[in-house]
């Protein structure tokens, strides 16, 4: 029982960490690829064109 509870807890932390890392990646993608602030846009301009991001 204890082992089962532990394994269930491990499974849910596993899934949580997957979601966490995916969210960090998606946030980074959004900030670097889509954020509209002028400074960020100019800095990332060439890369955004070169990855096909619809940013303007």
């Amino acid at each position: 029982m204890n082992a089962m509870t532990q394994s269930a807890a491990k499974t849910s932390t596993g899934l949580l960490s997957v979601i966490f890392v995916a969210l960090v990646g998606a946030t980074l993608l959004f900030v670097a690829g889509h954020a509209q602030s002028a400074a960020l846009h100019d800095a990332a301009h060439d890369m955004r064109h070169a990855t096909g991001f619809p940013c303007h």
Partner: protein
């Protein structure tokens, strides 16, 4: 688990990003600069009517020098290119994190990710994040025209999610039903169709735009393959 994902994804991502930046300067940057010259009016498409093919072939090469001079107005070319390297590294770090999250999810469902699977994962990531969106919204050369921004972003994001889910179902699903759903997910964004403008008035030549789009996809494929290759190696070495 989190450290393994963060470390592996970031290291592989930055490394693949540097490779992508190298390819960017080898194949893509010169076309962006040409596009910008049309965008700003430094060169005019159809300026010399009657001899169109010849003049277009000439324009990019001849005016490359000007492009470097022009970009000096907005800040040095060095600073601009350094930022491109930095942001390419960041974007690929983001790709790397999303990819290793995929590895961890697969292992969560009992599918081990071997080093030898890495390139396939990379190609699937490329197909989801670049190729499928590019079929509706081709990478835009500066000086070309596209539909309203927010509509494009919605279609872009939806296409990435549907394609990624479709490919995962196709790869890991068992039986006919997951395959049918996968097919529907892969097709849906293209059946719905990407937003397009009613008419085009881009000032950059379509020939340059076509070469730009093809090179962007080629560079993306190479960099994603490298990303998958490296990320899976790091991942399986840590298990």
């Amino acid at each position: 688990m989190i450290q393994r994902m963060l470390a592996g994804g970031l290291v592989a991502g930055f490394a693949a990003g540097l490779f992508a930046a190298l390819l960017h300067f080898a194949f893509i940057q010169e076309l962006i600069l040409v596009g910008e010259q049309y965008e700003t009016g430094a060169i005019i498409h159809f300026a010399e009517t009657g001899d169109s093919t010849a003049s277009h072939d000439h324009a990019p090469g001849e005016d490359d020098e000007h492009a470097h001079g022009d970009s000096g107005a907005e800040g040095s070319a060095f600073a601009r290119n350094a930022l491109t390297v930095l942001f390419t590294g960041l974007i690929y770090a983001a790709y790397g994190l999303i990819l290793v999250a995929g590895f961890a999810l697969a292992e969560h469902f009992g599918r081990r990710v071997e080093a030898s699977h890495g390139v396939l994962w990379g190609i699937a990531g490329f197909a989801s994040l670049q190729l499928a969106p590019a079929m509706g919204l081709p990478p835009e050369l500066p000086g070309t025209i596209a539909a309203e921004l927010i509509q494009r972003q919605v279609w872009w994001l939806g296409t990435i999610l549907a394609t990624g889910a479709g490919l995962a179902l196709l790869a890991f699903g068992r039986g006919l039903l997951p395959a049918v759903i996968a097919g529907a997910l892969l097709a849906a964004p293209h059946v719905i169709g990407a937003p397009h403008p009613d008419q085009y008035w881009g000032v950059a030549p379509p020939e340059v735009g076509a070469e730009f789009a093809a090179r962007v996809l080629g560079v993306g494929l190479a960099a994603w393959a490298a990303l998958g290759w490296l990320a899976a190696r790091l991942w399986s070495a840590q298990s």
